[in-house]
Amino acid sequence: MDFRLSHEQEQIRRAVREVVSDFPGEYWQKLDQELGYPQEFIEALTRGGWLAALIPQEYGGIGVGLVEASLILEEINRSPGNAGVCHAQMYIMGTLLRHGSTEQKKKFLPPLAAGELRLQAFGVTEPTTGSDTTQLQTFARRDGDRYVVNGQKVWISRAEHSDLMLLLARTTPAGELAKKTEGLSVLLVDLRAAIGHGITIKPIRTMMNHHSCELFIDELEVPADNLIGEEGQGFRYILDGMNAERILIAAECIGDARFFLDRSSDYAKEREVFGRPIGQNQGIQFPLARAHAHTEAADLVRFRAATAFDHDVPCGADANIAKLLAADASWEAGNAAVQTLGGFGFAAEYDIERKLRETRLYQVAPISTNLILTYVAERVLGLPRSY
């Protein structure tokens, strides 16, 4: 087994570090305070082709694998920044790429690769059904050459900053289904046309600047040409996309953890109290060392999962485990960082408190820790189903 990165992968790390170095802590602090969207940051990433990483070359993208994509997002989160503002542009298109028709791919992928079109929103979660995705209720009724959609979505991130949204909606009533994983379909919604004409967006104020929204969908018309794949198979289509999402978010958490550990180790070496660096005390060292060890473990599973994904080998268990371990590690590292910095851990200027709020999300979204544990218990260990 060779755990070393290739030259290109090392270069990707270094090059992303250079790009993000133009966006220091103050940039993100200001956005956090003003609930702003990092337009310039997205533009810089787009210019370098970073967000087109996973789009194949034939559609104008770069066509690298998930290993490389995960390095890009990790390095963004290893800086004071946060890849949550753009990660979806990388992976949501995966559903289109794997299950869309040639015409759909030709129409949408090249402008996505060029950054002229944003596909940053993924509409799955609903207020009444939450984690129980197969029970979602937003309904898309076929009417000639279009679908008419009614329902409600919640927590849909970046809907205000995206041109397109991938929407998961019911096309067959739950009562008429033999299998509960069927009856859902994926539609590509043009938000630019839909807002005010079938979709009303209401931003939700959260503990971090994540641009999440509530969507009220009322008689929204979507051309039938925008159905991805076959009607009724939507749940299956988004599942493989979810593995990519989990692996990439694991990488972001690893980036966060490393940011916390870099910052707090530096601080612990410099800060002198009682006549010596605080980092000389094992009470300070051990939490950092332990968080580091947990981060490294998560990192290994991340690479195993990403490699499996790139080789088209089933990666569901590893993708989930990577996300679980990485989200735990980043939270642990962030917590240790606050403790290490003492009062300064709470000061916005030091970026720790903000990044701790940001990384906390990944215990809940896109899938909560409990549901990952359920998956591992039931699918990997074969324990009886709890629901």
Binding site: E8, Q11, A15, V19, G48, G49, W50, V64
Partner: protein, 264 residues
Amino acid sequence: MKALVLVKNVPDANSVFRIASDGMWVDTSSLSYAINDFDRYALEELLALKDSGKVEEVVALTVGPQEASSALRTCLATGADRAIHVKDDALVGCDPLSLARVIHAAIKDEGFSLILAGLQADDDNHTQIGGLLAGLLDFPCASAAMSLNFQDETTLRVERELGNNELQVVDLTLPAVVTVQTGINTPRYASLKGIMAAKKKPVATLGLADLGLDAAEVGASAAKLRTVGFAPPSKGKGAEILSGSPEEIATELISRIRENAGVL
């Protein structure tokens, strides 16, 4: 017009520097390497000339061990067209003159019209390679360039930075060698596309035998400049720690700067 940039892989400033046990250099085991900062500006200058159509081909060259190829990959990823890597164990410990001879042998038949290098390498600071190579090629050389502008097809105007920030303006008749200062442009970042495209760009690897050179002429044993000592900077004699409250320290500091440095 074909152009060459000379690059070097040097310890990056964030490395941990310790003196090696032989006392002649730093302990390389604890170093991480990156492309010499000055060379990034030299490369950018050529890439900009390529963008404007003045230069058709940009070639990057380094002399160094296997790991030094990462500096070349950086050049290829940012836009250089091909690379030449001269590596030979016999070159470890060679002096600047021998190094210039090696580079000369590698490129003399290439027909480069413009050769750029960094003013100096961040590690050994010799500032010699550009000048020595120009001598061997019988090309004119301008050092410490702050800007490069073509006057006509064969005349390059170079603004040179002198000691007290004055600029001297010189015209060079091509082919020529120019060594550049940092900060003269904004080096571009490698793009993801560039990194992936670099994989397919040619890198020629040459040893002394390929260049028709003999270790006895250019290797460490032939060096006429040898390192005989190496020491960390002595603890500054003039250093003084000011004490008092922050306000007192600040007041004292300002008055010292006023008196001693004549600024403010």
